[in-house]
């Protein structure tokens, strides 16, 4: 069943080529991208099932033997990330199609939107599947180049300003990543992750620490870890609503994916673990305090995004099975929820004509559906008990308490405080935008009726909200799955053996 492995990369790239040829036929473009991403979702689900029954799947691209050629590897962790990202990208695509249809393609005007979006998807899947450090870099570049186009799409003044920051920071992180690759190759003579796992162990401690830090620095910028996170709230909010949503959901998580891979497979048990814990604490607290100061919903959500990256780092820094397992669970939860919230804010912007909190009001009375759509994921993000956000945080706190020690307890306290402050931040949005009297907004909007919300946009948002709630329902099996993934990651042998086995053949 290894034939499935390259498909999540190939299908979107083919789709991008076809949509690029169909630039004159918007309807055909939409159909092609929807079909392509639906197919990707199907393949990813099938891949997850295969990985769960038969173990990691490895494909040597172009039939080159393993240490020479590029390998694509799908283990539990990759397959799970693929399924979640495919589901989210499909929902966001449906949302943007709905937006394009409703606006007569004024706001998403360019025929370049669909090809870029598909290339972005291909980049994300490449990053998740690559079993080689350089191929990981190529995956990052594919998704970044597509994201440069998407964030500046339309070329308005705001987007150029925000896009400039984003492009320069991303370029810097790419340069750092490439430097790391050069150094790793010079030190170990290979870039194949499975081979590196063995060879890096033999290097002197100081050299390993240096390599580890260069790679962490590069991925830390991508994942928006605290001292390196200032670019994110500046650049995300100005883009189109679906673009912001998919960036918020996926791009930082690709950085986190890389951090998890590097920390577990290449440099297990290194001294960077405590560093990660300290950074996790700072990311959580500084991020959420930033969120509280904001007066614009999109920026507020961008800051909560930064803040909650800290939770996942917390799990990675603990480096025990429960910690990593909860971190992976939290990644799955956070991809879904953060994307949903940005999509809802897109709907709010459309309905109320603004995202600034001082210009919104009374949405709960005007549109109860919108209120429910915001309320559920917002509570989920804050970690209110029945929802998956609570389960993820509970797992992390349990893992932290199990290890013990001053730093871990500080993190447990920090995680609880961040959860409460997140509740405060989203409650503030709820009070100002949804709950207070609608006078201000109606006056600003004039006597016109608020526009009807397109069905596809609402439908795809509902689908994601339901997916977020469903995470609670399937939390048991999902935790089993993330537990397996974490066990495989920490043991290293399943991954390494799978790739080596391919080499013997």
């Amino acid at each position: 069943m290894t034939a499935l492995v390259p498909l999540p990369v190939v299908i979107p790239l083919l789709g991008a080529a076809v949509t690029l040829m169909l630039t004159r036929f918007p309807r055909a473009q939409r159909i092609v991208s929807l079909v392509a991403l639906t197919a990707v979702l199907g393949v990813c689900v099938a891949l997850l099932v295969v990985v769960c029954t038969d173990g990691p799947q490895v494909v040597a691209v172009g039939a080159w033997p393993v240490p020479i050629g590029i390998v694509l590897v799908a283990d539990h962790f990759s397959a799970l990330m693929l399924v979640v990202s495919a589901a989210v990208t499909l929902c966001v695509l449906v949302y943007s199609v709905g937006q394009g249809l409703a606006d007569g393609s004024e706001d998403t005007p360019l025929s370049i939107y669909h090809p870029s979006y598909l290339v972005l998807t291909a980049g994300v899947t490449t990053a998740f599947l690559s079993g080689d450090l350089f191929n990981l870099y190529v995956g990052f570049e594919i998704l970044l180049v597509a994201s440069y186009v998407l964030i500046t799409v339309g070329g308005t003044e705001d987007r150029i300003r925000a896009g400039t920051t984003y492009v320069i920071v991303s370029l810097l992180s790419s340069v750092l990543f490439l430097t790391g690759i050069g150094l790793v190759y010079a030190a170990a003579g290979t870039l194949n992750l499975a081979q590196l796992a063995g060879r890096l162990d033999a290097l002197p401690d100081g050299l390993r620490l240096m390599l580890n830090c260069v790679l962490l620095l590069a991925f830390g910028i991508k994942a928006a870890v605290f001292p390196l996170s200032a670019w994110l709230p500046d650049s995300y909010p100005t883009a189109l609503a679906p673009v912001t949503a998919v960036f918020a959901g996926l791009l930082t998580k690709v950085g986190l994916y890389a951090i998890i891979r590097v920390e577990t497979l290449l440099f297990p048990g290194g001294p960077t673990r405590d560093l990660l814990l300290v950074l996790a604490l700072l990311t959580m607290l500084v991020g959420i305090l930033g969120a509280i100061a904001q007066s614009d919903v999109k920026r507020l959500l961008s800051f909560t995004l930064v803040s909650h990256i800290g939770y996942m780092l917390f799990g990675i820094g603990l480096a025990n099975e429960l910690g990593v397992s909860s971190a992976i669970f939290y990644v799955v939860h956070h991809i879904t929820i953060q994307t949903t919230l940005f999509l809802v804010v897109g709907l709010v912007e459309r309905y109320g004509g603004a995202t600034a909190l001082d210009r919104l009001g009374g949405l709960a009375a005007l549109s109860p559906l919108l209120a429910v759509l915001f309320f559920v994921p917002a509570m989920n993000l804050a970690g209110i008990p029945p929802f998956s956000g609570f389960l993820g945080k509970l797992g992390l706190i349990e893992a932290g308490a199990a290890v013990g020690g001053g730093l871990r307890w500080a993190l447990v306290a920090g995680a609880l405080a961040t959860s409460l402050l997140t509740l405060y931040a989203v409650a503030r949005v709820w009070n100002l935008a949804f709950w207070r009297k609608p006078v201000t907004m109606r006056a600003a909007a004039g006597p016109l009726d608020a526009p009807a919300l397109p069905r596809l946009m609402v439908g795809s948002t509902i689908a994601l909200v339901v997916l977020g709630i469903a995470l609670t329902g399937i939390a048991g099996p999902l935790f089993d799955l993330t537990g397996d993934a974490a066990a495989d990651l920490l043991e290293r042998a399943p991954y390494v053996d799978a790739v080596r086995g391919e080499g013997v053949r």
């Binding site: 400039t164 320069i168 190759y185």
Partner: protein, 136 residues
């Protein structure tokens, strides 16, 4: 194998110049900085591999071949840098068309929030002063 000192020095100079240019405000200079940095990295990768004759079977004995992998990686990196340079140039041009310069600008919303905070702080100070007047 010991690294070639010339390579190391070149990498150092390119990185230093690139970082300085990256700190500038003008997008064109930033672009030059990125190009220098990217070239520095390319030389760094080249320095990490074994040097020798062309890695083609028949022309060079196997033991004296240079390592072809860094060269392949550099080629990929050069292509990526080329694309990004074109994109950044377009961005700088668009910025110049829209606002008449290509300087990287501050975030407006950030400034607004700082102003809000300063105003809040200012109000509190005034309140305190008012109270002082009231009591005295």
């Amino acid at each position: 194998m010991s690294p070639n000192l010339t390579y190391v020095a070149v990498v150092g100079v390119l990185f230093a110049a690139g970082v300085i240019l990256l700190l500038e405000r003008s997008l064109t200079r930033v672009l030059m900085g990125v190009v220098l940095l990217a070239n520095g990295v390319n030389v760094l990768i080249l320095a990490g591999g074994r040097y020798g004759g062309p890695p083609i079977v028949g022309t060079t004995p196997e033991g004296e071949m240079s390592d072809p992998l860094p060269q392949a990686m550099i080629l990929t990196a050069i292509v990526i840098t080329l694309g990004l340079t074109a994109f950044l140039l377009a961005l700088a041009y668009r910025s110049w068309r829209l606002v008449g310069h290509d300087e990287v600008q501050d975030d407006i919303e950030d400034r607004r929030i700082v102003e809000l905070a300063e105003r809040d702080a200012g109000l509190e100070v005034e309140d305190v002063e008012d109270d002082d007047e009231g009591t005295s």
